[in-house]
């Protein structure tokens, strides 16, 4: 199947308006006859479900959480971008568009990014109307800050809990509909199968996580807003339950998966302290504004940091990047930290950390100043590590944070399966090879509030639907497949736990498909993941049963998918013979060790078609053309 | 009117009534205490007896007495109701309870302190109120007081009850203002100050009375 991106023609600033006009409308009286399923109720899903219900569609939403308010969108700290130009510093949709395309290392679709920049202002308006308490100045107007190295102040924030406030806003609107009966919400349900009838997405099968029962739901269209797949690395800043099951199983049913190798690794996380560790905690990258990153010059220096004299410290970012110093982009800072630790220069008990030192800032501005600026982050660090960062440097290490890749979607956010739309982090769309700070919240809400409500109507209005309900044979088949998978897992009765396999997968992914990748490593990763997968199907022990609430059964199902997705990510990384954004191939770097893109051969979206179990996927290329932002080599020297 | 019924059926509406009757009873304490100060006059009870006579015969006071009694009944009924309802909210109790790590003992035992106060009240009324109001013969209230507090046990009982009253009010007084929505930053110092008068000074003053008579200072 050829990839039809449906990017409208014409000048970029008019494309979305023209496209909206050309989209077919559903008669208001007919809207309630169309049934839309929304899977996942984080920022993208909740905003979509509420907005579609506002229009009058018949919406059913699902979450594996007990409540939409628990989605991991809630953990986003920094903020949300919008080019309102409230700061009068020359911001515009054009500039946000430009920054995002450049930040994504020229691997995003220009048309999508421009649209994102265009609608982002409306998001702020909408959220304020919902009662989101964004930070304000004394005069009562909204405050903006500059974030993630942007040269303008366009980030709206609510202390360090912007994601929480935005999610609670979307949740409140979804709740309004649930209360009014205009959205049906099913909690603690995990989507396990997508149901296709005559090639169109017509429903899903979910597992009721409390009873274990499989349930069938039919609809005219299915929206997946199920987030990213960073937990393929086991340790990440994602929530424990974040998983790829919905998108991966949809992929296996025919949805192309794009750019799987683009993974964002965030530089300022609290390092791993032991084998028991279950997840990594991110600290806002604003810390790098005042902290200085260093390591001892000597290997295996066991002195405590205070005892290491100035001349025996290596402030490597300041040394390598004199003009940007500690403020280089996320991918650069992360990669350099790993490189130093790989050389044996790391610090802390596990030797996988670098120092982030605030002594100079404290000497310069006083402890009170630091406390006011970063107090909550310092407290959090203290709580987790038991060390006081006011008196001893923090130890930080990079961690997997966001996945830019995802299911391929066209300009209407529809996947290659007609009737299945993908929103938010689950799709591949707007960030290219690297996401800028404060852009994830923006994209999730743009998709949900301001794009899907228009584009889904076109699909519904232009499609003739056969009457299909849950009694259709395809539903029975999907349910049987899901049932079979669980039974198969329970029957293995091997000797290793689900977690063992997940950790082993994570280790391979981190070592070989993490920050620095090379051909050998990727090939060995593919081999070892295949081997691990075979072992899993021979030797896993899943405790529980088909009925009832069993955490191990839930996890096992998710790990099955991660074991396939991990290999797939390695394949995508192996095929992309260039370095760009969150994908760094060691073979492709400049003399200074920076990412070296290959625009001639790789300026495309790699959309993969599932090739069948155990078989290689088939590559489809969507060429990327840059008419407005001309590709250039990023430089932070 | 239906809205009002709904209001008083709601948890907040009932709480309001609880706080309102509580403060109403507090206001009575002030009057009672002020009048009883006459006990300390060394006139062999003349003034006090006159005051007692006035209280027993004045129609306005008699009317207020009915209000007071109703207020008390409402306060008690709501207390019992609240206690019963709140017990039902947690059918399976915790094995370990936080105790005073998270809340003051006074706030947790107000039903218990209130219940004991009720027993005290019955005995108190039996000793003083019933003879003054329902006795056919002329009674000197002053002598009644003198006789009652000659007993060490009876005096001790009073002291314990007054300590409990203080404890009950320590939570109850400020709690009423929280219920009215007035316990904000602005009024909190004032509430705490007046609260101190109610939970400490007034019970202390009342406690001086049995001690005064027991130690024969009259």
């Amino acid at each position: 199947m050829a990839l039809e991106s449906r990017i409208p023609s014409g000048p970029i600033e008019k494309q979305w308006d023209a496209h909206r006009f050309n989209l077919k409308l559903v008669n208001p009286a007919n809207k309630r006859k169309y049934h839309v399923i929304v899977v996942g109720t984080g920022l993208a899903g909740a905003s979509a479900a509420a907005s579609l219900a506002d229009l009058g569609y018949h919406v059913t939403a699902f979450s594996y959480h007990e409540s939409p308010r628990r989605a991991h969108s809630i953990a986003a700290q920094g903020g949300i971008n919008a080019p309102k130009n409230y700061s009068n510093d020359g911001d515009s949709a054009w500039r946000l568009f430009y920054d995002t395309v450049k930040g994504g290392d020229y691997r995003a679709r220009e048309a999508n990014v421009y649209r994102l920049a265009q609608v982002s202002g409306n998001i702020i308006d909408q959220c304020v109307a919902q009662g989101v308490p964004f930070a304000r100045e004394y005069g009562g107007l909204l405050d903006n800050r500059s974030f993630g190295g942007a040269q303008v102040s366009r980030t709206f924030y609510a202390r360090g809990q912007t994601g929480q406030q935005l999610l609670l806003g979307a949740y409140s609107q979804l709740s309004r509909h649930i209360g009014a009966g205009t959205v049906k919400f099913h909690d603690r349900r995990e989507m396990v199968e997508l149901v296709l009838v005559s090639g169109r997405a017509r429903g899903i099968v979910v597992r009721n996580l409390v009873t274990g029962a499989l349930e069938k739901y039919s609809a005219n269209a299915v929206i997946l807003a199920t987030g990213g797949y960073g937990n393929a690395f086991y340790l990440s800043t994602m929530a424990k339950a974040s998983n790829a099951t919905a998108i991966w199983r949809a992929h296996k049913k025919g949805a192309y998966f794009a750019n799987a190798c683009y993974t964002q690794i965030h530089p300022t996380c609290i390092p791993v302290s032991g084998d028991y560790q279950s997840k990594l905690t991110l600290m806002s990258e604003s810390l790098r504004n005042d902290g200085r990153i260093w390591i001892p010059k000597k290997k295996d220096d066991s002195r405590s940091p205070e005892d290491i004299p100035e001349e025996e410290r290596d402030y490597y970012l300041e040394r390598l990047y004199p003009s940007f110093g500690n403020l280089v982009p996320r991918d650069v800072a992360s990669r350099r930290a790993k490189e130093m630790c790989d050389k044996g220069l790391g610090v802390g008990p596990t030797k996988t950390a670098v120092y982030l030192d605030f002594k100079d800032a404290i000497d310069r501005n006083g402890k009170g100043w630091i406390e006011e600026k970063y107090g909550n982050l310092f407290d959090m660090y203290h709580e987790i590590t038991g060390e006081d960062p006011y008196s001893t440097p923090m130890r930080i290490y990079p961690a997997v944070h966001y996945t830019m890749g995802g299911l391929w979607v066209d300009y209407n956010l529809m996947s290659t399966i007609p009737g299945m739309f993908v929103l938010g982090e689950a799709n591949f769309s707007d960030h290219g090879a690297n996401r800028l700070g404060a852009s994830a919240l923006m994209q999730g809400l743009a998709d949900g509030y301001f794009i899907i409500p228009y584009t889904i109507g076109d699909y519904l209005a232009t499609t003739t639907f056969d009457p299909v309900d849950e009694s259709h044979v395809e539903f029975a088949g999907a349910l049987e497949a899901a049932q079979g998978l669980t039974e198969r897992l329970l029957a293995i009765q091997g000797s290793r736990t689900v977690d063992d396999f997940h950790r082993a997968l994570g280790k391979t992914m981190w070592e070989n498909v993490g920050m620095g990748r090379n051909k050998e490593g990727l090939k060995s990763a593919i081999d070892s993941i295949r081997k691990l997968r075979d072992e899993f199907w021979q030797d896993v022990r899943v405790v529980g049963s088909v009925n009832g609430l069993h955490n191990e059964v839930e996890r096992a199902g998710r790990v099955v998918d991660f074991l396939e997705l991990g290999e797939f990510m390695a394949r995508d990384a192996l095929h992309r013979e260039e370095s760009c954004g969150g994908h760094f191939r060691e073979e492709h770097q400049t003399a200074d060790g920076e990412a070296l893109r290959n625009d001639k051969d790789f300026s495309y979206v790699a959309a993969w078609e599932f090739g069948g179990d155990g078989r290689e996927p088939k590559l489809h290329k969507e060429p990327l053309t840059f008419e407005y932002v001309k590709p250039a080599q990023r430089s932070y020297k | 009117m239906t809205n009002f019924t709904q209001f008083f059926r709601s948890t907040i509406g009932r709480k309001l009534l609880m706080g309102f009757t509580g403060l109403f009873l507090c206001s009575f304490l002030v009057v009672h205490f002020a009048g009883n100060l006459l006990l300390f006059r060394s006139d062999n009870g003349v003034a006090f007896n006159q005051y007692a006579e006035f209280m027993a015969s004045n129609p306005a006071i008699r009317t207020m007495e009915i209000g007071l009694f109703l207020g008390l009944m409402v306060h008690i009924a709501l207390g019992i109701r609240l206690w019963l309802a709140n017990r039902r909210v947690r059918p399976e109790q915790y094995k370990v309870n936080a105790g005073s790590d998270t809340s003051s003992l006074a706030s947790r035992v107000s039903f218990l302190s209130g219940s004991i106060l009720f027993i005290f009240l019955v005995i108190h009324l039996r000793t003083f109120f019933v003879p003054s109001r329902f006795s056919s013969s002329e009674v000197s209230m002053y002598h009644l007081v003198q006789d009652a507090f000659a007993s060490p046990l009876y005096s001790l009982f009073y002291l314990v009850a007054l300590a409990l009253l203080g404890y009950h009010l320590r939570h109850g007084f400020q709690s009423a203002f929280q219920t009215f929505g007035l316990r904000g930053k602005r009024y909190l110092p004032l509430i705490e100050m007046v609260g101190f008068i109610f939970w400490f000074l007034i019970p202390l003053g009342f406690a001086a009375m049995p001690l005064f008579f027991y130690f024969g200072l009259s």
Partner: protein, 249 residues
């Protein structure tokens, strides 16, 4: 460190539960309480036993999924943290720790330490929102809001809906949860249009769900991982009384 745990085990909402004693060994003081339970569960799974079920997700104190009664304390002995943020260094080697679910009739146990808190969602559904459809919102700066008002609203809005307030309250009252939302929206101009109906419906729903009545012990504030102030309860009461006694037609 080595610890003895008394953990509430209950297969489902209809089967009666009970305490089971476990020991866990070699726990790092840097581990979180949930990671300590992970170690216990890993042991159980290796033995082929059903692991202890508990709700958790973000493990950084913001999603509100986790919530365990630890030695009678909601989210454990440390102030201002959720269970996932509680570190084992708060305990001593050899301690015996009682681990129970949050208990209240409107929070029925689903399994072991997992309780159903959807009653909170139903309260929000009854009015914890500003009714604005997508589209048509005025410019975000059209209505200035005083900084202190928005800061106060934010403080209330940081509620993570974990249910510790209910669990800690001897009356099982949800007042702090409801008050946090009522306050958040009552303090903002955007919340004014539905100010009266919101508090009335939310309080009615709270009562209907079977939560207890507040008796101002303030245990909720002491146990709230976000340290939300009981002054919000005072505000909710005020809002409720204002409507019922003054503004209601």
């Amino acid at each position: 460190m080595n610890l003895t745990l008394e953990v509430w085990r209950q297969e489902n909402s209809t089967t009666p539960g009970g305490f089971v004693t476990y020991t866990v060994r070699d726990i790092s003081p840097d581990a979180s309480f949930l990671e300590m339970l992970d170690v216990l569960n890993d042991d159980l799974v290796r033995k082929g036993e059903e692991p202890v079920a508990f709700d958790h997700d973000c493990r950084e104190g913001i999603c509100g999924s986790c919530g365990i009664m630890i030695d009678g304390r909601a989210h454990g002995p440390q102030k201002g943290v959720a269970t996932c943020e509680l570190r084992m260094r708060c305990f001593n080697d050899g301690d015996r720790i009682v681990v129970e679910p949050f208990r209240a009739k409107p929070f029925p146990v689903i399994r072991d330490l997992i309780v159903d808190r959807t009653s909170f969602d139903r309260i929000i559904q009854s009015g914890g929102f500003v009714s604005v459809k997508t589209g048509g919102a005025p410019d975000a700066n059209a209505i200035p809001i005083a900084k202190n008002a928005v800061d106060e609203a934010f403080d209330a809005a940081t509620c993570i809906g974990c249910g510790a307030c209910v669990a800690a309250c001897k009356n099982g009252s949800a007042s702090l949860f409801v008050a946090a939302k009522v306050s958040h929206l009552a303090l903002l101009p955007q919340g004014q249009a539905e100010r009266d109906t919101r508090v009335v419906s939310m309080v009615a729903k709270m009562d209907l769900e079977g939560f207890g009545s507040c008796s101002n012990t303030y245990a909720c504030e002491a146990e709230c991982p976000k340290e939300i102030s009981v002054s919000n309860i005072a505000r909710m009461n005020r809002e409720y009384l204002r409507f019922n006694l003054i503004t209601q037609k």
